[in-house]
Structures are given as structure tokens and as C-alpha cells.
Amino acid sequence: MKMKSLIAALLASATLGVVAAQAADLAVVSGDTGNGLEFLRSQLDRFEQETGNKVTIVPMPSSTTDQFGQYKLWLAAGNADIDVYQTDVIWAPQLADQFLDLADAAKDVVGEHFPSIIESQTVNGKLVALPAFTDAPALYYRKDLLDKYGKSVPKTWSELAATAKEVQDGERAAGNADMQGFVFQGNAYEGLTCDALEWVKSYGGGQIIEADGSISINNPQAVAALEQAKSWIGTIAPQGVLSYQEEESRGVWQLGNAVFMRNWPYAYQLGNGDDSAVKGKFDVAPLPAGEGEGARSAATLGGWNVAVSKYSKNPDEAIKLALFLSSKDVQKERAIKQSNLPTIVALYDDADIAESQPIIPNWKEVFQNAVPRPSAPAKVKYNEVSSLFWSAVHETLSGKGTAAENLELLEAKLTELKGDAW
């Protein structure tokens, strides 16, 4: 039955091929935040003019966890309504079977991208998705407030806590009762996995599951990292941070109500927008390091890619769209207008980008040292691993059990989940 409809679809696309080459109706999903949808539209307008195709954006929720559930369902049902998916960097191993191999179509351009990103999107030799932009978070800090209190940019998490506390209390005493020291993403979702992985890694506590598949999370450094994070809740971070995703933390930050924020580069451009209360008052730095052996600044590797559904009725035009969205041109525009980090090496030396977004050339190093989430070793079980990890962290932050107890339990659950092999 499935085979039949597949053949039918192939026949249909073959017969319609001549017509479709002229103009196809394509659909692309986007869960972008801020003014991301507007930007995407402006780029798609260019694509429409150049190729004569028509492209519709299907807006999605911004949470990557929510998006994944929906996409998996659509792809399992062989949905032909969506041609091009925007995929998170961690999805490739889980959705590889449902996307077209782009290796042939992109053979001329893959060399331009960072090899590590291309590698992350290659599953068993199949190029599942083309990178659209990469992501590595930053510590956003308020220049004006740090100057006012004579503080320097914190290099370690304890420095950050001390500075945040002092500035927050000072500002509150001065009349801004809503001032918070530090906001991040504490809701129980994929974002917390990113934040907590940074804490653990910055304390030299490994990366949950190492590249060889061994489970490393239950160690004293990881415990220290989570205990440190727990001490922020209710002191420098509002209790509500436990329900914040990216946009909620940006909301607090952009109203001028936070000294520090952990967020992705997209917030840089938006924070400098005309409607922002912190325009021109902030800067970014690498995230602080932890303490103890192996401590260093750590940033979780993020990033989004474009993939073509194998159920697309116009695969050729859809591949063109994917190539377009990952092209040097669009990535440059994206860097300038959205402060998204390009995946094309040459763009880090681009004069226009350096001028309008001085943060980007500096970020090359940060993202090259970024920590990948364990999606490669955990394979199809990654989502469950991540869910177990963020639950353990969320429990710890909400005061349900100590970090040591929760991580021990997590180790047991991960071992059970792993079974003989991932």
C-alpha cells in the first residue's frame, strides 16, 4: 500500500516534472523566534523571483522539542505537504531515513562549510541536511551596570554570582524592584539540556555520554556544577526561570531587567533594535568557566539546517530551495540582519559582516570549541537521554533531591536505557 502510493507519487512527479520545473508550490516550516519569520520571508521572496516557484512558510512553535514531535509525526505519515524542513543540529541521526540525500546536489558547496558541521549532518554516508547557520551561546552582560559598580566581566561562575548579586541588590535598592541578576533557560525542555551541559562541561564534568558511548554524568564535578546552578535560583535568578525558554529570558533581558543573560547569538541583533531598552548598553563574552580540574568555558553547539522531505512532490525544486537557504548569500544576509553565525568559513573574514556584527568574527573560536550534545553516540535514543537529563537537572534546581542523588539516579536510568548498546 505504502509502496504503491510511493510509486504513484513518483509517477506523478515524473509526469508533472516538466510543468513543475516551471513553477512549484513549496512549503517550508520555521519555528524561528524574534523577527526570524520576516527575515525568512524576505529571502523566500528573492527565491520566488529567481526561480518562479512559490514558497509558503508554515510557522511552528519555537521549542525544538515541540517541533520535533510534530515533524516526526508528519514524516511517519508520509506527509507531502511540507517540502523543506528546518532541522536542529541534533536531529540528523533520528530522522535520517525520512530525508533525501543531499550529497550529490551539494557536492560543489559542501567544502565551503565547516567540516565538523557537515559531519554532524552526515549519517552513514548520507548528507541529511545542509547547514543554514550555527549557534553557540554567549554571556550577555550589561556594560553600563558593570561600569557603574566597577565590576569586570566575570570569568568564572562564582564571580558571576557575586557580581550579579551585588548589582541586583544595588539596583533594587535604587528603585528597580524587578532587577534580576541572571536569566537563562530553566524550563524542562531541550534548552535546559544545552544550559546544563555547559555548566557540567565548564566544571570538567564530561558531556553526559562520551563519544565512545560510556555514561559519564555521575561524577563529583558534575554534582558541583549543578549545586552551583541550584544556588542561583531565588538569589540571582528569579524562581520563574524554571519555566523560561529562550524568549522568556530575552523578554526579561530586553526590558532592561537583568544584569546577565545566557542566550544564543540571535538575541544580539534584537537587543540592539530600536524598541529595546538595552540598546547599546550591552556586550557579549564567552560563558564563565567552572572550578576544579578540567574547568573551562564551555558552549553547547547548536545550529539549524535545511533538509528535504523524501515525500516532497517537487524534490528537485525543494533541493534548490534547500541549497538556496544554506547558500553563502543567504548566510551573509542572515549574519548581518539576524546575527546568526554562518557555517561557511570564508564569511568570518567578510568585511561587511565584521562591520555590522562585530560579535561574529570573534565567535569563530567559541563555536569551534563548542561541546556537541550526545546525539551522535545516543543515536535514536537521544531524545530520551536528553529528557532524562533535563528532568534530573530540573528536579535539582527545583529543590527535589540533591544533585548527587539525582545524578546517581540518572546514571542508573541511562544505563538501563542503553542496554547492550546505544
Binding site: Q98, A188, P238, Q239, G240, L255, S387, W390, S391, S398
Partner: protein, 326 residues
């Protein structure tokens, strides 16, 4: 069930009717019901049977048609280790699942009890004669008419700790001293879900009870009035017994609904073990994780739990759906 109830009512009220007439009436009824039954079989019966089938296989979402029959292994499975120790696995011994069952049952009991009490009060008020009663009756239904996902999102913004209107309001009124993060911790999040659920479904409860109240004959009250019975006593001795059948039916509808709560929890609470309900956890296994068959087993068990609870409730509560009382 509907067919039985109708047929039962027909035969009970008119026992002496000619057999043939009854037969043709029932036959005609069957023809009218047939399209509905077919529709139900397609949209409810088939998916249900398929889910039950999937729960006995090792199907995953990326291979829907190639799952193999594995018997009860999703429900209960055991392996004997080399040391001779036997390890059990599967849904029936999964603490995460039973935790979700407990969360759901607790939520259902608390919310439905409160809704019944408040719904009864609202129904009593609406049953009284006053000017503009029609408008009030219509207005009170608004929360029920808003799609749950919309009201959940609306409330999540109202409950937001930094920009939420509720914190602002309570701060100005001096009820709280600092901004409360309602949806951040699991405990307050569950309270928030309860508040929103009660806000939303009390009108439904009130409407069903109101319908029951209007069936109560006026002369009973007049008799009580003439005898000089205290109004509180009238409520407990006259009103309550007479509306009991309506209340029981309303409660079961709400209970069925509450047991499969999903949207409010999904939108309003952090995705943590202390708030996950049966529907939330089975959706997670079905789509987010690579455990379609396991999620199907959870859905099947969810169905069974609700079915057993309903049967028990009908049996113990002596509920009848034809409006009479046993």
C-alpha cells in the same frame, strides 16, 4: 449503549405496544443510527483497535508497517540474569507510568470535586428568578466555549511571573509581596492547572446541573415552604436527592474528560515527572521518543483504566442514563 437505553425506555413506558410495530420502529432506528455507527467505527473503533494491536508489537514510528508481534513484552517482560536474579521490565512495573497514573487520578479527583461543588452553587444561583438571567446564563458559558489550548496559552501569559497580569494585580492590591512564579515549580504549576481547569469547566457542570434542577417539580418546594422547613434542609433533603441523577451523569462526563487531560498540562507546566499525566507521557513515548509500541501500550492501559473506572462508578453510583434513579 444509546441503542439499549432508547429501546429500554420505549419498552418500559409502553409495554403493551404491538410487537410488530416495535420491531419496525427499532428497525427504522437502526437505519438512522447506521451512518453514525459507521462513522464511529472509522474514527474511533479502528484507531482504538490499531493502537491495541500496536501495543503487542515492536513497531516504531519510522517503521509503522514492519512491526513484529512480541506478545505482552511491552506490558511485562522478565529476564533471568546469570546470577539467578530475575529482572522485570515493561509498562506494568514502570515507576514513571504509575507516577503519571497517580498524577492523573489526583488531578481528576480534586478538579472534579471542586467543579461539582462550585457548579452546583452556580446552578442554584442561575435557577433563581432574576432580571437578566438569560444573559448571565449565556455569559457564564464563555470559558467553556474557548478552545482549551487557547485558554491555556492565555492563562500562561496571565500567570507569567514577570509580565503577567495576575502578579501585577495582586501586587497592587497588596496580596503578595513579590512576584510569584506560578508555573515554574511543579507544585504551584499543578495548582495553576487546577485553577484554569475549574475556571473552564465549571460552566459545563453548572449547565448540566441546572438542567436537572429545572426538572424538579415546583410543588415540592411549595409543600416544604408551607411546612416551614429550613432552606438548608430543603436543599439536602429535597433538591439534592432529586438532582442526584443529573449530577452523577455530569460528574462522569467530567471524570472521563479529566482522566485524559493533556493540553493544560502540556502548555502550563514544566515538563517534569511531578506533573506528567498519562496522556502526556504516552504522547512523549509515541512521538518524541523512539518507542511507538510502548506508547501504544500506555494508551491502551489509559483506555482500560478509564473504562474500569467508569464501569465501577456506574455500578457503585447506580447511575442510569435515562434520567431515572434505581
Amino acid at each position: 449503549m444509546t441503542v439499549e437505553a432508547t429501546a429500554g425506555a420505549v419498552s418500559r413506558t409502553q409495554p403493551k405496544i404491538a410487537n410488530e410495530l416495535l420491531k419496525s420502529r427499532v428497525g427504522a432506528a437502526m437505519w438512522f443510527l447506521l451512518p453514525m455507527l459507521i462513522a464511529l467505527a472509522i474514527v474511533a473503533g479502528w484507531p482504538l483497535l490499531r493502537t491495541i494491536y500496536f501495543s503487542f508489537t515492536n513497531t516504531s514510528l519510522s517503521s509503522l508497517y514492519t512491526g513484529e508481534w512480541i506478545g505482552f513484552k511491552n506490558y511485562l517482560n522478565w529476564t533471568t540474569l546469570k546470577s539467578g536474579r530475575t529482572v522485570f521490565s515493561g509498562l506494568l512495573v514502570d515507576p514513571a507510568w504509575w507516577n503519571a497514573v497517580w498524577n492523573t487520578v489526583r488531578f481528576a479527583v480534586v478538579s472534579v470535586s471542586l467543579e461539582t461543588v462550585i457548579g452546583m452553587i452556580v446552578a442554584l444561583v442561575l435557577n433563581a428568578e432574576f432580571k437578566g438571567r438569560g444573559i448571565v446564563r449565556a455569559a457564564i458559558l464563555i470559558p467553556w466555549a474557548i478552545p482549551t489550548i487557547v485558554s491555556a496559552k492565555m492563562w500562561s501569559w496571565m500567570l507569567n511571573d514577570q509580565f503577567g497580569i495576575l502578579n501585577d494585580l495582586f501586587l497592587r492590591l497588596g496580596l503578595i509581596s513579590h512576584k510569584v512564579a506560578w508555573t515554574a515549580s511543579a507544585d504551584t504549576a499543578m495548582t495553576a492547572v487546577l485553577i484554569v481547569d475549574i475556571w473552564k469547566t465549571t460552566p459545563f457542570m453548572a449547565l448540566l446541573i441546572l438542567a436537572g434542577l429545572q426538572m424538579v417539580p415546583k410543588d415540592v418546594y411549595e409543600a416544604a415552604k408551607i411546612d416551614g422547613v429550613h432552606p438548608v434542609k430543603v436543599f439536602f433533603k429535597v433538591t439534592l436527592p432529586l438532582v442526584r441523577p443529573a449530577v452523577m451523569v455530569a460528574v462522569i462526563f467530567r471524570l472521563l474528560d479529566a482522566m485524559r487531560i493533556f493540553d493544560l498540562i502540556y502548555v502550563l507546566t514544566p515538563n517534569s515527572a511531578s506533573t506528567k499525566t498519562m496522556s502526556v507521557i504516552s504522547r512523549e513515548n509515541l512521538f518524541d521518543f523512539d518507542k511507538f509500541a510502548y506508547g501504544s501500550a500506555q494508551s491502551t492501559l489509559l483506555f482500560l483504566i478509564i473504562a474500569v473506572m467508569t464501569a465501577l462508578y456506574i455500578w457503585l453510583g447506580k447511575v442510569r442514563f435515562d434520567g431515572g434513579d434505581r
